[in-house]
């Protein structure tokens, strides 16, 4: 049986055939015309790619992506709170881990059968595990990301509350680095405050390592955005 001519079908088919390679070509052309961060950022050029996913200061991290990332967007810097800021909960965890040894001196459940002591011990260590897991997850996934297009602040404030704030680089109005106190000076970490013209007026990268370097990178990115506008390479 011969095919019945369907004009609409043919037009959409032709459009689809001509569109897909076109968009790919455009994407390729845009990719070629786009400058890499190594070309315009001294901070990024000096840093070697970080392959360790646990780094608190991870320039050009390999195999790290985020959910709202565009295809052409590159992660330039991934930041977490400095590991030294995690010491209090680590000390607390060690204390909680050792606590049953101290409490064995006080006969809490001695009037109950022995199996209750074992059950209490299991429950206790489960609670400690939960505490450690929560604190570790919170540190690992609360990140600050700087890409060649945006800055992103990912916050998991509680078990089920997630807050992601982002701002385009060209919306940045002012960048301030704060470092104060002996511990912050010794370990070189601090808070980077970024004033933006967007909906979220201020983004704060709290207790991140090397705040001066982060500020320098943001300034370099800002300059590049302005250069793109002047040269008409806006994407």
């Amino acid at each position: 049986m011969t095919d019945v001519y369907d004009g609409k079908k043919k037009i959409s088919k032709v459009a689809a055939e001509s569109e897909v390679p076109g968009t790919e070509r455009e994407a390729e052309a845009a990719e070629k015309s786009r400058r890499h961060a190594d070309d315009y950022s001294e901070v990024i050029r000096q840093e070697s790619p970080s392959a360790n996913p646990f780094h608190a200061f991870a320039p050009k991290p390999t195999y790290v992506f985020f959910d709202s990332q565009d295809r052409a967007e590159r992660v330039l810097l991934l930041l977490r709170k400095h590991p030294i800021t995690q010491i209090p909960w680590l000390i607390a965890a060690i204390g909680l881990f050792l606590a049953p040894a101290l409490f064995s001196l006080v006969p809490f459940f001695d009037f109950l059968p022995a199996r209750f002591n074992l059950a209490a011990l299991f429950l206790w260590y489960l609670l400690v595990t939960g505490f450690v897991l929560e604190a570790a997850l919170s540190w690992f996934f609360n990140v600050y990301i700087i890409t060649d297009e945006r800055i992103i602040d990912v916050d998991f404030l509680s078990l089920i509350y997630k807050n992601i704030s982002s701002a385009k680089i060209d919306n940045i109005e002012d960048v301030t680095a704060e470092t104060g106190g002996a511990i912050r000076s010794i370990f070189n970490f601090g808070t980077v405050r970024i004033q933006t013209a967007g909906a979220s007026a201020e983004l704060a990268f709290e207790d991140v390592p090397q705040p001066a370097k982060v500020t320098r990178l943001l300034n370099e990115l800002l300059l590049e955005e302005e250069r793109e506008k002047v040269e008409g390479r806006v994407n």
């Binding site: 996913p53 646990f54 195999y63 790290v64 992506f65 985020f66 959910d67 006080v106 006969p107 809490f108 459940f109 001695d110 009037f111 109950l112 059968p113 199996r115 209750f116 059950a119 209490a120 299991f122 429950l123 489960l126 609670l127 595990t129 939960g130 897991l133 929560e134 997850l137 690992f140 996934f141 990140v143 990912v154 998991f156 078990l159 089920i160 997630k162 992601i164």
Partner: protein, 86 residues
């Protein structure tokens, strides 16, 4: 004699007349409820890990997922142990 012993008057008929079985039953119920609440918490943690993993994709994401599930199953095993053997 501990404070709890005194409060529940075990081996001390002079204070309260609360039987040993009732005390053991009360504590078993308490432990089981705690275990159950912890299982719910561990389940929420696995959901939270799922959201975190999709938000930030890293090479260690599968390991984090495994830890979350391991934690949940250990909590479930402890809960079942409390129900069956306490």
């Amino acid at each position: 004699m501990s404070l709890l012993q005194a409060a529940f008057s075990i081996n001390n008929p002079g204070m309260f007349e609360l039987g040993d079985d009732a005390v053991v039953g009360f504590f078993k119920l308490l432990f089981v409820i705690l275990g159950f609440l912890y299982v719910i918490f561990a389940f929420v943690v696995t959901r939270q890990i799922k959201v975190m993993r999709t938000t930030l994709i890293t090479p260690v994401s599968p390991v984090v997922r495994l830890i979350g599930y391991l934690h949940f199953f250990v909590a479930l095993a402890v809960f079942l142990g409390l129900v069956l053997f306490l």
